[in-house]
Symmetry: C2
Amino acid sequence: MSDNEHLEQFMRRAIRLATENVEAGCGGPFAAVVVQNGRIVAEGTNTVTSSCDPTAHAEINAIRSACRELGVFQLSDCDLYTTCEPCPMCLGALYWARPRRVYYAATRDDAAAVGFDDAYIYNELGNDPHKRALPMQQLLRAEAQESFRAWDAKQDRVEY
Amino acid sequence: MSDNEHLEQFMRRAIRLATENVEAGCGGPFAAVVVQNGRIVAEGTNTVTSSCDPTAHAEINAIRSACRELGVFQLSDCDLYTTCEPCPMCLGALYWARPRRVYYAATRDDAAAVGFDDAYIYNELGNDPHKRALPMQQLLRAEAQESFRAWDAKQDRVEY
């Protein structure tokens, strides 16, 4: 099997999971798999509506599942395959999870064409905070430094 | 109590939770509360390292907890108070959860000053995908449309 066929078999698995997820009524048409040393260690599909959790996107579910499975909070030696370009939430999650590489199939525009907000949210995040549709207001910035001082002073803190 | 004092009491509660979270060794110096009709319906702190979950930021935990508590997957009549400007993952999550308004205290630069990647990830998301530090590669875009067609054809789909 060529290198590319090897990669494609993982993506085909994810695409099958995404289609089955729709058919089963579990959520949106998205799935992801996490691969370590050529082996799938975790899978996730979008379960936003069935699990009442707006953060339960395929990538987030797959990352959480892989970390649980491997007992780690970073996926440094893993690759993630997702059926669609990650939305900003999921791309942010990937930066925190730090996999080696991400493979994706469809684009944010393909997702927008069937009614999903991914492209819209990318635009919003790029906007000046005061021009965003989600109103945000700052309060008590000075007081909040107390928590950061506690972190900075903690000798046995576990960084991530 | 003036309107602002009312808002500040929720933020002070979050700041206290964030500091306690550090002292208890549960994770980073961040907390969030979700408020509906002047009442806290859910709280969350950062538990990345203690729960082995890179997505377990304060806002994500608070959103998940509020949705579980209220049995919904959108927080349209809620406000979220967070001790720090949300990172891109959490801001993306807020766009999916759709609260009325977000209050935040510290900034991404305050977080960067004590070693957190929030500001860095904002910069990365703004970059052209091919210039990002996280390598991403597209595969099988055409095949992945199958899942979107299944979604589009599903009569009883639950949108979000």
